[in-house]
């Protein structure tokens, strides 16, 4: 199995968002960056597929700044074989521009699978994997939470409102991974040491401007301060009255 995994460096989910002076971006001072949690499922799945096949390669690709080398090292410490940093100061605001860069890099190698996390927890774009599949004209299943592969035939499950869609597809394919697919491993000390010696190529790239321009990044509207209605079951009557008469939601 020859598997490519595309990953992203994102602010940790516990980050308190502070807007930078330009009014358009995140103030990165003091922010801890991590491997995007949904991408961990992609890396884990790639490693399991390779282990099951008994041979192959897991290569990780990351579009991002120089600091994203650390993110790639995390994937290498989990067990990926090599990494490629597609180095750009800024990740484009237009996901199609990111997809074009990744597709250009992935093109020309016959991957059995190309995996992405189903979304990044910073920009929430939820589409780069699907866009790459379209650009490479490969079958794609998004938000996969269960996966079976026999030869070149795959069966994936994806969650939809009120149910699970069971999807047949052909390999090679692009899949985007959802929580529930697997339990990602923690890099062991041995893995962390080994990762330092694994190949990591750095290739400068020039993303295009795209058709989406950021006008502003603002804090969400403050919620008006609420109140404690009371203590214990005795407060329920008053709570229901407020929900009916004041909030008008009952």
């Amino acid at each position: 199995m020859k598997i490519a995994v595309c990953i992203k460096r994102v602010p940790d989910s516990e980050t308190r968002v502070k807007i930078a002076a330009d009014g358009k971006s995140l103030d990165e001072a003091g922010v801890k960056f991590v491997l995007n949690p949904y991408d961990e499922f992609a890396v884990e799945e790639a490693l399991r597929r390779k282990e099951k096949a008994g041979a192959g390669e897991v290569a990780v690709f990351c579009l991002g700044p120089a600091a994203a080398q650390e993110t790639i090292r995390t994937a290498l410490a989990m067990g990926a074989d090599r990494g490629v940093l597609l180095s750009a100061d800024k990740i484009p605001a237009d996901p199609l521009e990111s997809a074009k860069i990744l597709a250009a890099e992935l093109k020309g190698t016959s991957w059995d699978l190309i995996l992405f996390g189903r979304m990044a927890i910073d920009d929430y774009n939820t589409q780069v994997g699907t866009l790459v599949a379209e650009l490479l004209d490969l079958p794609c299943v998004s938000a996969v939470s269960h996966l079976d592969i026999e030869g070149t035939k795959g069966v994936a499950e994806r969650e939809i409102e009120g149910g699970i869609e069971v999807v047949d597809f052909q390999l090679p394919a692009v899949l985007t991974t959802d929580k529930g697919l697997n339990e990602p491993r923690y890099p062991a000390l041995k893995g962390i040491m080994a990762a330092k010696k694994k190949p990591l190529d750095i290739k400068p790239v020039q993303p295009g401007a795209g058709a989406l321009a950021i006008a502003a990044l603002t804090p969400p509207p403050e919620r008006k301060e609420g109140r404690i209605v009371g203590e214990g079951a005795g407060a329920v009557g008053e709570l229901v009255r407020l929900l009916r008469e004041e909030a008008k939601v009952l």
Partner: protein, 319 residues
């Protein structure tokens, strides 16, 4: 210029989220053409006229009985190339999140997705989308034509603006594609998805053990089919509840009319996922829990006493 609103059907019947799409599409002006892909006539599709659609188009193909990602995308992209819409609006539903980028890529653009607001400013479409799980709002100018957009569920409340819509059915010739839906395993009857529910009752570690979610399920049932049970990351990671139910930055971001957080302390990544709820109620034994900072109404105390009492009261209202 016309805006295309992409409707959704399941098992040949129109999904309610379609009304939100038609309502949201009108923010960009008139006219609005509504389109649905189906194996044949889609039950209830004419109802979008009541919500302001000027034209209703059904694209039919034998492969359209279930969602067929490649075939749907090809049919919609081909129509868009011919018609030259100003914008194409999807729901940011499970299907819309998969389909919109496919159509967009075929038209050489990206999706501005999961929008909570949109408007036209001259030739540009200006949209607002929550990022960092709602910890910030990103305002984006979409300069592509068409603008391909998807709307966050439960944000664009359907508004009735009856129109005498024209209807058209077009049999389209597309291949079934390399990705096909074999079956849909339905959740137990009556289960509502948290992303679409008007009322969400979420539980956290305060529930103490998985079996105790029964008290939340009873409360949800008292709302008579409008409520879903959600969960915090802690209890999903512990395997008490399915990931489908998780609300927060690594789960779902939700905007129900009423969100009741039970035994949830309110970690920042959870608050991010539910802070756009219209009304928030918190029930927690710790009066200093961060959840009370975002709640409109809080009740401090033992959830196992408070929730059953609340269930009883809600039943009275709906009885």
């Amino acid at each position: 210029m016309t805006t295309l609103a992409v409707l959704e059907q399941r098992d040949g019947a129109l999904r309610k989220i379609s009304f939100e799409v038609v309502t949201g599409a009108q923010r960009l002006g008139q006219p609005v053409e509504a389109v649905v892909c189906g194996a044949g006539a889609v039950q209830g599709v004419d109802r979008v006229a009541k919500f302001g659609a000027d034209k209703i188009v059904t694209l039919t193909n034998p492969a359209f009985a279930r969602y067929a990602p490649e075939a749907f995308a090809q049919a919609l992209a081909e129509r868009a190339k011919q018609a030259g819409y100003r914008a194409i609006v999807f729901a940011a539903s499970a299907t819309g999140k998969d389909l919109a980028p496919r159509v967009a890529a075929k038209l050489g653009v990206a999706v501005a997705g999961d929008l909570t607001d949109l408007k036209a400013e001259g030739d540009v479409v200006v949209v607002t989308r929550p990022v960092y799980a709602g910890k910030a709002l990103l305002k984006v100018k979409v300069v592509s034509q068409p603008a391909v957009l998807s709307l966050r569920p439960n944000v664009f409340t359907p508004v009735e603006r009856p129109k005498a819509a024209t209807t058209e059915t077009v049999a389209v010739n597309v291949a079934p594609g390399r990705v096909t839906v074999r079956e849909i395993k339905a959740a137990p009857a009556g289960t509502l998805d948290v992303a679409e529910a008007q009322v969400i009752i979420s539980g956290g570690r305060g529930l103490k053990e998985p079996a105790n979610f029964k008290v939340l399920e009873e409360l949800a049932q008292a709302f008579g089919g409008r409520a879903a049970v959600g969960a915090s990351r802690a209890v999903v990671d512990a395997g008490w509840r399915a990931h489908a139910d998780q609300v927060g930055q690594t789960g779902k971001t939700v905007s129900p009319s009423l969100y009741i957080a039970v035994g949830i302390s309110g970690a920042i990544q959870h608050l991010a996922g539910m802070r756009t709820s219209k009304v928030i109620v918190a029930i927690n034994k710790d009066k200093d829990a961060p959840i009370f900072k975002v709640a409109d109404y809080g009740v401090v105390g033992d959830l196992f006493e408070i929730v059953p009492k609340l269930t009883e009261e809600i039943r009275k209202l709906h009885g």
